[in-house]
Symmetry: C2
Subunit: 354 residues, 2 copies
C-alpha cells in the first residue's frame, strides 16, 4: 500500500482518481452511487480515498445526509425583458444569499400557478430540493396550500391576501406605506394636484399602493377626484394615461405612479407637451428599478430593499428545513423614497451621480 502523498493542499477527487488509476467520474460514482461500480473497482477507489486521506466536501457529506442544499425558485417571466421589473435583481440577491449559506438555487420555468405546482411535485418527488422560495402572491394562491399540506419547507416573498387555513412564513414590502410616503414627498414640495396612475382594480399589490395614495390625500386634504387613472403596466400606457390627465382644464402638477415603467411613460407625455419634468411637473415611480437612472432627469422612486429581503427569505426557509416545526415568521418591510431630479429639480443630473 502506498504512502499518502505529501501535499500541503487537501487531496482532491482528481488526486484520488490518479492514485486509483480511474476516471474522475468513477470516483464520484464510488462516493455517490457505489452500486454502479464493479466491486473490485469500488474497492480500489475506496482504498485510494483512505490512502490519501480524502475527505468529501461539506456538500458531499450533506448529500449522504439526504439534504440537497438546493432551494427551488420559479424563473420569472420578466427575464430582463420587462425593464422595470425587480425579479431579476431579486433572483441575483437570492442566489448570492443562498451561496453564503452553502446553498444553490434550482431555477425552473413555469407558466402560471398550476404549472408551478407541477414543478413542485416533480422536484419534491425526486428529492431534488430542500425547500422553495416563492415570488409574488395573490388571492386564491394554490401554491402555498400545496406546499403547506405536504410540509414542504417554503417562504413567500409576498403576503397572503386572504385568510388561509394554514400558516406559513412570508415577507412583504408595505406598498401602502410606500405611496403614502411618495405622496407626502410631493406635497412637501408644494404640489396640491397630485395624480395617481395605478393598475386595474383587483391587483392586490396595485390596490395596496392605491390605498396609500388615498390615505395621504385624506391626511393632507388633497383632491383626488378626476386625478386617479388605471391601466396596464408599461411605458406606452403611462404616456396615454398621463396625456389624458394633462389635457384637462385643471391638470395635475405631480404624479405618483404604481411602477417605474408607468412613471417613465408620464415623463414622455410631459416632455411631448414641452414641459420640463422636475421643474414643471413632478413624477415619482415605484420599485427603484434600473429604469430610474436611465432617464433624464433621473426618476424619483420608492425603493424595495430586495437584497435584505432575499437574505431573510434564505434564512427563513433554512430555518424551516432545519426544523419543519419551527415557528412561522411574517414581516412587512417599509420601503424608502429615493428623491431624484424628476421630483426635485435641485437634484444633481444623473451623469454627475455616475
Amino acid at each position: 500500500m502506498s504512502q499518502p502523498e505529501q501535499s500541503p493542499a487537501r487531496p482532491t477527487i482528481k488526486a484520488v482518481a490518479k492514485h486509483a488509476q480511474v476516471s474522475y467520474q468513477t470516483v464520484s460514482n464510488a462516493l455517490n452511487a457505489p452500486e454502479r461500480l464493479r466491486p473490485d473497482t469500488l474497492a480500489r477507489v475506496l482504498r485510494a480515498v483512505e490512502d490519501l486521506g480524502y475527505r468529501p466536501t461539506q456538500a458531499a457529506r450533506n448529500l449522504r445526509l439526504q439534504t440537497t442544499r438546493l432551494i427551488g425558485f420559479r424563473s420569472t417571466r420578466s427575464g430582463g425583458r420587462d425593464i422595470g421589473a425587480i425579479e431579476d435583481r431579486f433572483l441575483y440577491a437570492l442566489t448570492s444569499a443562498a451561496r453564503d449559506r452553502g446553498y444553490g438555487v434550482i431555477l425552473f420555468a413555469a407558466d402560471g400557478d398550476e404549472d408551478e405546482i407541477a414543478m413542485f411535485e416533480d422536484l419534491v418527488s425526486r428529492g431534488a430540493v430542500d425547500g422553495f422560495v416563492l415570488f409574488g402572491s395573490h388571492r386564491h394562491d394554490a401554491r402555498t396550500a400545496w406546499l403547506a399540506e405536504r410540509d414542504v419547507p417554503f417562504v413567500s416573498f409576498g403576503r397572503p391576501w386572504e385568510k388561509t387555513a394554514f400558516e406559513y412564513s412570508w415577507l412583504d414590502v408595505d406598498g401602502h406605506a410606500g405611496t403614502l410616503a411618495a405622496t407626502r414627498h410631493l406635497a412637501a414640495a408644494g404640489h396640491r394636484r397630485v395624480a395617481f396612475l395605478g393598475w386595474p382594480e383587483g391587483s392586490e399589490v396595485g390596490d395596496d399602493r392605491y390605498a396609500g395614495y388615498l390615505a395621504a390625500a385624506e391626511e393632507l386634504g388633497l383632491p383626488t377626484r378626476g386625478l386617479t387613472v388605471r391601466g396596464l403596466n408599461g411605458i406606452g400606457d403611462g404616456t396615454k394615461l398621463a396625456a389624458a390627465l394633462l389635457d384637462k382644464a385643471h391638470p395635475p402638477t405631480a404624479f405618483v405612479c404604481v411602477s417605474d415603467a408607468m412613471a417613465v411613460g408620464v415623463m414622455h407625455a410631459v416632455e411631448h407637451r414641452g414641459l420640463a419634468v422636475g421643474r414643471d411637473v413632478a413624477v415619482i415611480g415605484f420599485d427603484d428599478s434600473p429604469l430610474a437612472t436611465v432617464v433624464q432627469p433621473a426618476l424619483s422612486s420608492v425603493r424595495q430593499p430586495l437584497e435584505s429581503i432575499a437574505r431573510q427569505c434564505v434564512d427563513l426557509v433554512l430555518e424551516r428545513i432545519d426544523d419543519p416545526r419551527s415557528a412561522v415568521t411574517t414581516s412587512v418591510v417599509e420601503p424608502t423614497v429615493i428623491a431624484r431630479g424628476s421630483s426635485d429639480p435641485t437634484h444633481p443630473a444623473p451623469d454627475d451621480e455616475a
Copy 2:
C-alpha cells in the same frame, strides 16, 4: 388488499400517502431513499404504490437512472442592475429551453473563474448536475480546461479566444459582423464621419466589435482618425466620451457604440447640446437590450438572437450528456441591425410601437 381507486386521473404521491396512511414525505422517501424507512413502513407504502398503480414521473425514473436532469449555470453579476446587460434575458431563455427538454437549471453565485471552478467541483463531486452551460469567455479561461479534463459535459456561449489543447462545443455571436453592419447602416443614410465608442483594449468581445467598425470604414473609405474612443461601460461614460468628440472642430454625425448603455450616454450628450438624436446625430448601440425601447427616440441596436442561442446551448449540452464522445459543435451566429428612431428619423416613435 384493497382495490385500486377508480379515478380517471393518474394516481399521485398524495393518493399513495392517503392510501398507506403515511405522510407525503414518507412516500417520497420510500421511492428515493428507502433505507430511511422502517421495513414495515416501507412495505406498506410499496403495497399502496402497487395497489394504486402509481407510476413515478419521468423525472423520478431518471433519478433512479442516476441522471439529475439539471444543468449548472453561474448566476450573472448583472442581476438586473446593469440595465443594458443580456445575461438576465439569456438565463430566462435557457431555463425555458431546458424545461422544454425536461431539464432544470441549477443557478449558483460565483465571484470570478476560480470561484466558479470551486462550484463546478462541488456540484460534480455531489453528482448534482449532468452538465454546465458557460456564459462569456476570455483568454486564459481556466473553466473550460477544468471541465474538459474531467469529461464533464458542457457548452460555452462564448468562443475560445486562443488555441486550446482540447476541443469543446461553443456558440458565439459575430460581433465583427454586427458593427460592420451597423456602420454600413449609418453610411447608407449618408453619414461620413462615423465615430466608434468602444471598451478598453484587451477585451476580446470589445476588440472584435471595434475590428468590425474598422473593416466597414476601410470598405467604405470613411475616416476613423480621431473618431474612436474607449471607456468603461455605462451611460455616464458614454456621455463623457461623446461630449469630447462633439466638442471637436469636425465632430462626428453618427456613433457606433459597443453597447446600448454607451449609446444612451451618447444620446444624452447630443441632447445636452440642443441637437436632436436621429435628425442631427445618428446613434446605434449593441445587444438590443431593454434599454433600447425605453429612451426617446428609441435606440437602433445590433440584436443577438439570445433565444435561439439558448436553445442550441441546451441541445448541445444534452448531446454531450447523452454521449460524452459525441462530436464537438461550434457555431458563430450573425446578429441583426434593428433600425429605430435614433438612426432613422422616419421611424415611428416608441409609443406607436408599444
